[in-house]
């Protein structure tokens, strides 16, 4: 029962945004008092205007239907809580993205959508195809995201603010700015990767590994439109220049055509729909490239219509898959008798896909054609592109709707494609609703245009141009050409096999395309990482040490050479005999310790060093240090002996050349340290602290031993930490030695 609460979340949000519709023409900015940083310019601010409300309604409205569909479609999965968490995360991120007013906020939600898309595509993480597809999507959109951030930072520094209100008002400033081209390139990289424009399109077909509700929601109706949203949003600021028009028109048209071509050649229902989505996104990008009010209006209307029918078609594909067990159009047929309701939804959706008929997408297509006709020098090539893709998309539509439902049931013993029945209402109602909406809104466009579509497109082109959506513009050239294109498409559908055969050799060229480069990049990166790790992380401690030493010595010497050399004063000063003796003892002890061949001899030498250092402390006025050092040295020697005395003599393990090398390196380091200390002694060291403690230890600390007063009073916190550390070390020793020994076989 509780699963029916799920669709209520998006539904509640849908109603909330509906309430915001009346004020859509006046942009409102809401700021949340979180994460505000004045220096960085980040704010959690949100914007409610026509464009964002349109998207919000699409996200929540289609979301409600898909949640309802999913409760039925996904029944039986064991990871439902995880799935719905990721799904809801995605919805919220997408909402945040489209509602963001601050560019950095937008970016954060942008990356969140990439992340949740990755999680959702790879939800069947046991399957390697799903994992690879998810990674592919993440790397491509994530890479674009990084470029996008750079572009946003540049915009922010050019305008002085990350808030859209400021940015959109400074369009001329940005276009004239020396950074305009880099900004454009970076932002386009982000938008193109997200919206699957050529050559970044290859992650979208792979993303069909995700469960159908995910494909319907993310990869047709919402997430892939994020790039289009971004381009629309930034049109007033970045658009209108020659570079903008050229880049978007070319990329958009290329994507539109190639997507349509690949849609016809595909055999999996979801793949066909994925490629046709790519094509639709291409046309939206192309229109935004042209950038005239008419083109923008066409883009907005088409965006809206596309969301409706594409989601419907994906849901139908899901039903077919769920009921018959296959998505391959070659083995599907005759389903209209078995699933009449699904068939209805499919036909309505397909009519919208072909954009010819009493459907909203047809009205949008007409607007598109008329906008292109007024596009000046771009007119001819773009018209060719539009009509080519119209033909192919009509063929694809036929492939999606006619073949499975009206086609002949293919013969064969274990052919599943001919059975099935209409699913439960939760599954056929959403696609039917969505597809029907495409028809109804086309016949009665008034309310939705005035309330939603007009404010949305006005927010983008920012003129007073009125939006007029109508199905019937009279019998004119576009209508006739559309009819001809659809007919041609039907012919292509019937002669599909011949076209596939022609496209065979082209497919081999495609193998050198972006997908191959992606694979190469991935393998190359892994190989490089492995090789580099093998060299640097060889597993030998002494190698690491040597690298550190050499780097240290080199850097210190370089720094000193750059700083003008080390000034030294070789004054021996007054050295008493006993000081020299103690120093000699230390040196002798150290050298003996390093050269001794008996372990006990080395330890004894260590003891000599320690005691001599203690005497040194006595000479130089550090009584506390001396006492502690004496006792610690005693305990150290005891410990060493306890652990080591049973071991055999040291064996000479390293060959002489290495030993010489190590000795040279070590001596060099020692020399560097000596030089540094000598140089340090020449620097004046401030004695303020000594004076402070000297003056205050008795007065405030009631003690005469300065060192002790510092340790237990002035700097007691450090001492507290220190005794904790020594306690931990002791416990560690205890634990280590209590462990049961691992017996060597």
């Amino acid at each position: 029962m509780s699963k029916w609460l799920l669709p209520l979340i998006p539904f509640a949000l849908f109603l909330a945004f509906l309430a915001a519709v009346p004020g859509a023409s006046e942009p409102r900015v809401i700021e949340l008092p979180l994460g505000t940083s004045e220096e960085l310019g980040t704010r959690l601010s949100f914007r409610l205007d026509g464009l964002s409300i349109l998207f919000a309604l699409l996200i929540t409205g289609i979301g409600t239907l898909i949640y309802a569909y999913g409760t039925r479609y996904l029944a039986g999965r064991t990871d439902l809580p995880r799935f719905w968490s990721y799904f809801t995360l995605f919805m919220i991120s997408m909402l945040g993205l489209t509602l963001a007013e601050n560019l950095i906020t937008l970016f954060i939600f942008w990356e969140l959508t990439s992340l949740s898309s990755y999680l959702l595509i790879g939800i069947d993480h046991e399957r390697p195809e799903a994992r690879d597809a998810a990674l592919k999507a993440l790397l491509v959109t994530g890479g674009g995201g990084m470029a996008l951030l750079a572009g946003f930072v540049l915009i922010g520094s050019a305008v002085g603010s990350f808030e859209l209100t400021s940015i959109l008002a400074q369009g001329d400033l940005i276009r004239a700015h020396p950074h305009y081209i880099p900004i454009l390139i970076l932002v386009l990289l982000g938008a193109f990767t997200k919206s699957a424009q050529v050559p970044f399109h290859f992650w979208l077909p792979a993303a069909m590994e995700a469960p159908t509700p995910v494909s319907a929601y993310l990869h047709s109706a919402t997430m892939v439109k994020a790039g289009v949203y971004l381009l629309a949003r930034l049109l007033p600021a970045l658009g209108g220049s020659e570079e903008w028009i050229a880049a978007l028109a070319v990329a958009g048209a290329l994507t539109m055509v190639s997507g349509a071509v690949m849609a016809v050649l595909a055999t999996d229902l979801k793949q066909i729909l994925a490629y046709s989505t790519m094509s639709a996104l291409g046309s939206m990008v192309m229109l935004l490239g042209i950038g005239t009010p008419a083109a923008v209006q066409a883009a907005i209307v088409f965006l809206f219509a596309h969301a409706l029918y594409k989601a419907a078609l994906f849901l139908v594909a899901g039903i077919v898959d769920h009921e018959t067990g296959t998505r391959d159009v070659r083995s599907l047929g005759g389903l209209r008798r078995l699933m009449p309701l699904t068939a209805t939804a499919a036909i309505l959706g397909a009519v919208s896909l072909a954009s010819f008929g009493p459907v909203l997408s047809f009205a949008a297509k007409e607007m598109m054609v008329m906008a292109i006709a007024a596009a000046g020098e771009w007119r001819r090539p773009l018209e060719i592109a539009i009509y080519t893709s119209a033909v192919l998309l009509a063929a694809a539509a036929a492939l999606v709707a006619i073949k499975p439902f009206f086609g002949v049931i293919p013969s064969g013993p274990r052919n599943p494609g001919g059975r099935g029945h209409d699913p439960s209402a939760a599954m056929w109602l959403p696609p039917l609703l969505l597809a029907t909406a495409g028809v109804v809104l086309a016949l009665i466009p008034g309310p939705i245009t005035a309330a939603l579509l007009a404010p949305a497109s006005a927010a983008v082109h920012q003129t007073q141009e009125r939006l007029y959506v109508s199905l019937w513009h009279g019998i004119n050239a576009p209508l006739l050409l559309a009819a001809a294109a659809t007919a041609a498409g039907f012919i292509v559908y019937r002669t599909r096999e011949r076209w596939i055969a022609i496209a065979e050799p082209l497919g081999r060229i495609g193998a050198l395309g972006p997908t191959a480069w992606y694979g190469l990049f991935l393998r190359g990166m892994n190989a490089t990482a492995r090789a580099q790790t093998r060299v640097l992380q060889s597993g030998y401690l002494r190698v690491y040490l040597m690298i550190i030493l050499v780097t240290l010595i080199a850097l210190v010497l370089m720094a000193n050479a750059a700083g003008g050399g080390i000034r030294l004063a070789w004054r021996l000063g007054q050295v008493a005999l006993y000081e020299a003796v103690v120093a000699a003892l230390i040196i002798a002890g150290a050298i003996t310790a390093s050269l001794a061949s008996s372990r006990l001899g080395a330890i004894a030498a260590l003891g000599v060093v320690g005691y001599s250092v203690a005497i040194n402390y006595v000479i130089f006025s550090a009584p506390d240090l001396a006492m502690t050092q004496f006792v610690i040295e005693t305990l150290t020697v005891i410990l060493f002996v306890l652990v080591i005395y049973r071991l055999p003599r040291f064996s000479v393990l390293t060959p002489p050349p290495q030993r010489v090398r190590d000795a040279v390196l070590a001596t060099l380091f020692g020399a560097v340290i000596t030089l540094l200390v000598l140089a340090a002694q020449l620097e004046p060291v401030r004695a303020d602290l000594a004076a402070y403690y000297g003056a205050n230890a008795y007065v405030k600390g009631h003690g005469r031993n300065l060192v002790n007063v510092i340790l237990v009073d002035f700097r007691a916190l450090d001492t507290l930490g220190e005794i904790t550390v020594i306690g931990i070390a002791a416990i560690g020793v205890y634990a280590l030695l209590r462990m049961r020994p691992e017996v060597r076989p």
Partner: protein, 140 residues
């Protein structure tokens, strides 16, 4: 190491060493000494005991488990810090009082207890290390 000389010496030296360590601890505030040195001296005293007899005997001589010493020492040190907090002021503020007659006033304050805490921790840690290692050696 069961030398008779060592054992006799240890039996008499150890209490002296312990006394010396406490003396060092208490005088540390005004003259060289303090918690660290005192604690280490006490540990050395017990080390002597370990060598004269063995780890088990030393453990009995200490009477208190080293774990307990470490924990108590840390608690006392922390506690002395909290006293400062309750009398206003931040953690580890020194609070002083005095005992004794008006000519021979001795100041006693929280830093002294802090030092005692340090003393205990140092004894406990050193003992834990020494005893663990010695017991390991004896087992083989």
């Amino acid at each position: 190491m069961s030398s008779l000389i060592l054992r006799t010496a240890a039996r008499y030296l150890m209490p002296l060493l312990l006394l010396f360590s406490i003396f060092t601890l208490l005088r540390g505030h005004n003259l060289p000494g303090g918690g660290f040195t005192g604690g280490l001296l006490a540990a050395t005293a017990f080390a002597l005991y370990i060598f004269a007899w063995d780890a088990a005997a030393a453990k009995k001589a200490v009477r208190i488990d080293p774990h307990f010493l470490i924990g108590t020492g840390l608690l006392i040190a922390l506690g002395s810090g909290f006293v400062g907090m309750f009398s206003g002021g931040a953690f580890l503020t020194g609070v002083w009082g005095s005992i004794g007659s008006s000519e021979e006033k001795t100041a006693i304050g929280t830093p002294l207890f802090f030092d005692i805490g340090v003393y205990l921790v140092v004894i406990g840690a050193s003992l834990m290390i020494l005893l663990s290692l010695t017991e390991q050696e004896e087992k083989e």
